[in-house]
Amino acid sequence: MLEPHGDCGPHGAWFALMIFYILRRLLFLPLTLFGISLLIFLMIGFLGPYQRLATFINSPERLKGADVDKLVELYGLNDPLIIQYGRWLKNVLRGNLGWSYVGKEPVLSAILKRFPYTLELTLFAAIPIIFLGTSLGVLAALHHNRPLDHGLRIFAVVGWSFPDFVFGLFVLMIFYGTLGWFPPGNLSVWAEEIVKSPHFRNFTGMLTLDALLNGRFDVFLDALRHLAGPVLTLTYVEFAFLLRITRSSMLEVLRKEYVRTARAKGLDERVVIHKHAKRNALIPVATVSGQTVIGLLAGTVIVETIFNRTGLGSFIALASQQLDYASIMGGSLFFGLILVIGNLCVDLSYALIDPRVRLE
């Protein structure tokens, strides 16, 4: 973790420290991943072989004619835990994350196919969240304890107090059911035909970006239309936290000595706010923004379910419900990777913004 401390040494030394720090954090990555896999495997290990069989027989329908005991044998569900874990680990080290029963394809490709969708949703939601959160937070701080401040805070907090599935269903009801603006799914039928056709090249896997890169503005707009509902839901539910952090950070900064000094010097109020207060208030905001984005990546499950979108969140949720342990392990490892690297980036950006920070 990074702690703000005193002065730093000469620049060269600082740079070296930074590299050393990154390397050290990355070194722990495999250990962390190993730990994650172990933890999850242990949890699943508590289940009996018939419970684990639920992955292969996932509804009462499929019980027909199934010789359950033979299936247990076939999938090695009766072997001791160590052996099952060892089998999985051996395959992972060879690059094979196993077969996903929920995705009906190898785990790795299932994850890689779905990740861009979640990433796209996260990025598109991050923009309004950060924008609204910070600008409204600044606004609230500037009108501290006056009606606008209270009003904004209640508005934000009400959003944060709403379960996302309730709000999501509202959005679906109003913006799709009544107005017909924001349909569920990824794309309309006609747009999907274009995307699936041979002349459409898949560069990133993200529909909006690919549409632009292919020069299809109509597909781009259609994809945006389908993103609007989930983005609206995520924004309203998440921006409150950012608002609060920005507000309190701004408040703290506004009281600081150097701001008073700038005011005393007779500088224009606006300059005081924009140049000095904001920049310093941004430090914790940057951290929290980063964490929000990372948190969003893992938290799109419900929105993806309600709006019927492809994504990693709904994939992992389904895998957890059906105890598709290869998918759960693979997905968790993937998330772990993202979280660790993401946190590293956030911590680094913290150091970059405030050169006074010393890397522990």
Partner: protein, 293 residues
């Protein structure tokens, strides 16, 4: 009472939204305490299980018999009233337990530093890197459904946040003059932690805890939404909202036909979380100077 605290409390109560939060909470506390009077349970039955009042799965609008209506064959009013108790139980127990664990781990890591810190922080990272819903789902499948199992799952995957917070604060406080002084005087480590470090580092944790209370209730509702969480028929706002899930779009021509399915449990949830958030906000404002965010 220390002068600082008294001043802070005064600031707290002069804050309008803080007062609102406290009042709302007070209302909820009253409802929770008087649950058996407000919604009398059937004799011989576990009061936390909402009684089945009709066989048809159709929701019924509010009536004299069922003031909040009927959803999922159960009386919504009963569910909202007893759900208040459930909300408090989940919120308080999980927050207390996870904060306690977090405090313990975080204090050890922060105070003793070096290798112990490294190990504990790696373990924390591992727990934090698993998507919470995944872990909660797997855990509840393994342990079985039941409110206590849900609480265990919530505790096991939320102690990390107070731990990191307290550790960070301790790392800062540790270097302060009066701690170094106490050390050089030979005061024992435990005493130093308990009497000097913790009291100075604890306020952010308390504030974070009060804010987590609200989000915990929402997380528990999300678990109900996904079919986990409290067992079927348990008085839980999340479960009530789950009944509403498939009726939200209303009947033909009447989009808001089933408004009561969301309005009452949803309203209760929003107000409850709101109350805790307002309180947390006001606490932070009141103890402002101590804050390091």
């Amino acid at each position: 009472m220390r002068e600082e605290t008294r001043k802070a409390l005064r600031r707290l109560f002069s804050n309008a939204s803080g007062v609102l939060g406290v009042v709302l909470l007070g209302l909820f506390v009253i409802v929770a305490l008087f649950a058996p009077l407000l919604a009398p349970p059937k004799p011989g039955r576990d009061p936390y299980f909402m009684p089945v009042v009709t066989w048809s799965a159709d929701p019924l609008p509010p009536s004299r018999e069922h003031p909040f209506g009927v959803a999922g064959k159960r009386d919504i009013f009963y569910g909202v009233v007893w759900g208040t108790r459930t909300a408090f139980r989940i919120g308080i127990l999980v927050t207390l337990a996870s904060t306690a664990i977090g405090l313990f781990v975080g204090s050890l890591a922060g105070y003793f530093g070096r290798i112990l810190d490294e190990i504990l922080m790696r373990v924390t990272d591992i727990f934090m890197a698993i998507p919470f819903l995944v872990a909660a789902m797997v855990l509840t499948t393994v342990l079985g459904t039941g409110l206590d199992k849900v609480m265990i799952a919530l505790i096991v995957f939320s102690w990390m946040y107070p731990a990191r917070l307290i550790r960070g604060n301790i790392l800062q406080v540790k270097e302060e003059q009066f701690i170094l002084a106490a050390k050089s005087l030979g005061v024992s480590d435990t005493l130093i932690i308990l009497r000097h470090v913790l009291p100075n580092a604890i306020f952010p944790v308390l504030i974070q805890a009060s804010m987590r209370m609200g989000s915990l209730v929402i997380t528990a509702a999300a678990l109900s939404f996904l079919g986990l969480g409290a067992p079927q028929g348990y008085a839980d706002w999340g479960a009530l909202l789950n009944y509403a899930r498939n009726w939200m779009l209303g009947g033909y021509g009447a989009t808001f036909k089933y408004w009561y399915m969301i309005a009452f449990p949803g309203g209760a949830m929003v107000l409850f979380v709101l109350a805790w958030n307002l309180l947390g906000d006001a606490l932070r404002d009141a103890f402002d100077p101590r804050l390091r965010w």
